[in-house]
Point group: C2
Chain length 197, copies 2
């Protein structure tokens, strides 16, 4: 069973090492991990080529497991979220994980501040702040729930690799454990239910 | 022909007014605009209900026109980007627009600073910064290009509504003009080509 490894991991200085490690973790759980940089040597600098390669990997994959750890702001990396929408719409199983245990509203509060005037919390630009107690924007978390997945959260312990907090290995492992348990329980049936479609 | 109006417009204080205006603009070009808040009165506060409604509107739509004006950081709103991935994967036509004329790297530089050490620009966390001269993350812009769409950019003039810069009416109008011209040229044929799929 193939897992597409979406996430901002591709931007860390030791991205290949991070990808290699996540692929090894997949293997330990009986899955094959597909990492976006697997084919990049031939297409580095060619944005359309990278896009097509990533779409090809997502089409091959049975499951999308997305690193939703916040990237350059209070939300997940937008490239990752594009892929999550792509795989949701393709009726694939989707899961998320993050090393940040705060909910979306707490992160917006920490980054920009939030006021309570009126019926909804608002940021300093007066834009409403979602307040569902969820890990990120409702479209992301609701999609994962509707597809039968979960978002795992685990604080990342200090370790040797660069950028372990962004890579979120502990939360990733927790996610793989849940997927493994579910796939075993349903006897290898990995099609998504049509609930909510 | 129906256009799904994706964007962070739903978060501004006068969101319904913004949506109404964009729907009127659609009408002036011969399109029907579908705005996410159209049905929200019955489902306010129900995140899964909002998600399902938005997915239903996207499935009804022939074209997705997404407001990519940066939201709470250097990138587009993640909920909007989820929807863009959803509609791309559903083989719909997709377009983008923004009131911010800077490219992604310029915005990251303005927000966080960027260093040039090594072969790629990096932010202060040492994460690589995409440098394709594009409006946002490559997955967003490449998807629009692959689907035959464009991203229009126009500075927003001062006007009476709240949050006009985020709403990006001028860039939205420029986008509608292009869509109208193209739809007219191909005699109403609105299916996406299979290029790059």
């Amino acid at each position: 069973m193939k897992i597409y490894l979406g996430g901002p991991d591709v931007f860390v200085p030791n991205a290949r090492e991070v990808g290699q490690r996540k692929k090894e973790m997949c293997r330990a759980f009986g899955f094959e991990g597909l990492f976006p940089l697997d084919s990049e040597p031939e297409i580095a600098g060619d944005a359309i080529g990278i896009f097509r390669e990533n779409c090809g990997l997502m089409r091959q994959a049975d499951i999308g497991v997305f690193n939703l750890t916040p990237f350059r702001g209070p939300s997940a990396d937008v490239g990752t979220v594009f892929e999550l929408g792509f795989m949701f719409s393709s009726d694939k199983l989707i899961y998320g994980y993050s090393s940040d245990s705060r909910d979306y509203r707490e992160r917006v509060t920490a980054t920009f501040g939030v006021t309570e005037a009126g019926e909804r919390p608002r940021d300093p630009d007066t834009y409403a702040v979602e307040n569902f107690g969820w890990a990120d924007n409702l479209m992301i978390v609701a999609a994962i729930r509707e597809a039968g997945g979960v978002v795992t959260v685990a604080t990342e312990p200090r370790e040797e690799l660069v950028a372990p907090t962004l890579a979120a290995f502990a939360a990733f492992e927790a996610c793989l454990e849940i997927i493994k348990e579910r796939v075993g329980r349903v006897g290898g049936e990995i099609r998504r239910s049509s609930r909510g479609r």
